[in-house]
């Protein structure tokens, strides 16, 4: 375990740096109630107080402590990112693997559905879903699941087609294994590497989409501590309170940067051709 850890740090220094950022992000999200000095929705102070001793990141237009909101924002971002990606990518992967293996009309039909879903620019698809579903954090997750499913279906389908061409699948068919057994015992376990890569690389994407939606005003309700929503409020007060733009923006950039570095190195590790490079 310790040896594996050292090897990861030596081979993927950027990935290790990303992992540190991600661990900090997770810790902040988990311990938000302890770390945040005030409640994220407590409008208890003077508005537009500049960053200082009392409020390290200042206060916003309603007199809420920005530091507390940024800390709780980590929890919201990570929650939305992880839940939507796990559900969306899993659903899409099973869909892609099953239709890819069955082939024929099921496959062709499902590919057209994927095409149609991917024909809409992602932010627009999410925006229209939110318009239909109504604004709430859960609906952002639902919209993201719908956004991520077709991508995963397409990727895993092509992986599954490659796996299905292996002799061990043919052997399973020859021994009379049922299709369900072949798909879930032989096919899907062999697609796991790609599945893990999809999950790790899409969390940062989901976080950015959530923030973008909230930024547009179609994501989390305005009182929720979403980094994107905080930025919108900041832009409206750009001259009086620029800190309202800087801190949430910095938080999201750092989170995305860390997740990207970690995701990239996980991808490199699962692809032998890329092993040993420094990204």
């Amino acid at each position: 375990m310790k040896a594996a850890f050292t090897r990861f740090v030596v081979r993927q220094p950027l990935g290790a740096a990303g992992a540190v950022v991600v661990l900090v992000l997770i810790a902040v999200a988990l311990f938000a109630p302890i770390l945040a000095p005030h409640g994220p929705k407590d409008a208890a102070f003077a508005p537009y107080v500049a960053p200082g001793r009392e409020f390290p990141m200042g206060t916003d237009q309603l007199g809420r402590d920005l530091l507390s909101r940024v800390i709780w924002g980590a929890r919201l971002s990570l929650y939305v990112g992880v839940v939507s990606v796990v559900f969306g990518i899993t659903l899409g992967s099973v869909w892609g693997a099953v239709t890819g293996y069955l082939g024929g009309a099921a496959d062709a039909g499902s590919q057209r559905v994927v095409d149609s879903l991917m024909a809409l620019p992602p932010i627009i698809l999410a925006l229209s879903l939110m318009a239909a579903l109504g604004q709430s954090v859960d609906n952002v997750i639902l919209a993201l699941v719908i956004l991520l499913t077709p991508t995963a279906a397409r990727t895993i389908r092509s992986v599954a087609l490659g796996v299905a061409a292996n002799p061990f699948i043919e052997a399973a068919q020859a021994t009379g294994a049922s299709q369900t057994r072949i798909i879930f015992r032989h096919l899907i376990p062999n697609c796991m590497a790609s599945y893990i890569v999809l999950v790790t690389t899409n969390i940062s994407y989901a976080i950015v989409v959530e923030a973008s939606l909230s930024f547009i005003g179609a994501g989390a309700p305005p009182d929720e501590p979403s980094w994107g929503g905080m930025l919108t409020a900041g832009i409206q007060a750009l001259e009086t309170a620029p800190w309202m733009v800087f801190f949430p923006g910095l938080a999201i950039s750092l989170a995305v940067f860390g997740l990207n570095l970690l995701g990239d190195s996980i991808r490199d590790l699962t692809d032998p051709r890329l092993r040993g490079g420094l990204g």
Binding site: R112, V113, D115, S116, L117, A119, L120, P121, P122, I123, I124, L127, S128, L129, M130, A131, A132, L133, G134, V208, A211, S212, F215, I216, G217, A218, G228, L231, G234, I235, L238, E239, P242, V245, G249, I252, S253, V256, F257, N260
Partner: protein, 320 residues
């Protein structure tokens, strides 16, 4: 070649059809129905008058008819350029599109031009001087471009303009045909912010493609027969490495119209993106439906054009 074109066209139609059904269904997922939302928006309790209003709106919008008929009506109109009436603006949706669409297209074109002019040469230089200081600088620039969310870059540029140049986004939009200078002054900043974002993956792709191509035998042959380095790079290597870059830029160009929503919002550009956000918040469904449809249509047309261009550039594709 003609079989290939035919094949691509045959894929285009069902995809557009599927996307249109998707958009239509989405707009009907709204809890309750549009008529109720429109009437209750005013916030009072349900009354007999309102019940009557709801009935009337349903009839006006054709919501009392079967869904399939509604869809056929809508798509039939859409094909002829008739997207119905906007609930809020009380005018045909096509008029809104005619006003907003060219502005967003101009912004998108400007963005793409800036991104290509900046990103492709940067990628080439980065590859030719691999591991040199220029290469590291280029990679750093593109890595940071990948990590900064679009709305943060936009907000920072806006802050810089406001803070140091006392520049505020103009409230009135000036068309290019009216006053090109004023028009570009208005659009250059959102275009730069968006271009910075999309140039990052373009630079990285150009670099990796170039690195692959300059190790090919025919590049060595070109050098061996004594060609100038410039000719080797530009005539032989660059052309061949640009193929995937072209596809990628096309793919981005197609979805740019949607991505510009955020830039239009930050820099107060009255284009299609800001119209869409407005329509969504006002629950102006005919307008929302039409704008999303147009965006999907542009995306699919650009994709088709890129595929055909690709086949024209690379003979291996059309004969495969």
């Amino acid at each position: 070649m003609s079989t290939y074109i035919l094949h691509r066209l045959l894929l285009f139609i069902p995809t557009l059809f599927g996307a249109s059904i998707l958009i239509f269904v989405l707009m009907r997922l709204v809890p309750g129905d549009i008529a109720e939302i429109l009437v209750y928006q005013t916030g009072s309790e349900a009354s007999a008058v309102q019940q009557k209003q709801i009935q009337q709106i349903r009839r006006e919008l054709g919501l009392d008819r079967p869904v399939v008929t509604q869809y056929l009506d809508w798509i039939g109109g859409a094909v002829r350029g008739d997207f119905g009436q906007s609930y809020v603006q009380r005018r045909p949706v096509i008029d809104i599109l005619k006003e907003r669409f060219p502005r967003s297209m101009e912004l998108a074109a400007l963005t793409l031009v800036i991104a290509i002019v900046w990103a492709v040469p940067l990628g080439v230089v980065s590859a030719v001087r691999q591991n040199g200081p220029l290469d590291y600088l280029a990679r750093l620039i593109s890595l940071s471009g990948l990590s900064l969310p679009l709305f943060f870059t936009g907000a920072l540029i806006l802050y810089g303009l406001v803070r140091f140049f006392r520049w505020l986004p103009p409230l009135e939009f000036v068309a290019f045909t009216e006053n090109p200078v004023e028009n570009l002054k208005q659009l250059i900043w959102p275009a730069l912010a968006q271009a910075y974002y999309i140039s990052a993956p373009i630079t990285r792709l150009t670099r990796s493609q170039m690195l692959e191509v300059i190790r090919q035998d025919y590049v060595r042959t070109a050098r061996a027969k004594g060609l100038a380095e410039r000719a080797v790079i530009y005539r032989h290597a660059l052309r061949n490495s640009l193929l995937p870059v072209v596809t990628f830029i096309g793919w981005w160009g197609g979805r740019l119209l949607g991505g510009l929503v955020i830039m239009e919002m930050i820099f107060v550009v009255p284009g299609m993106g800001s119209a869409l956000i407005q329509a969504v918040s006002q629950r102006d469904y005919p307008a929302v439906q039409a704008m999303i449809f147009v965006m999907a249509l542009v995306f699919l047309i650009v994709n088709l054009a890129v595929d055909l261009l690709y086949a024209w550039l690379d003979p291996r594709i059309r004969y495969a």
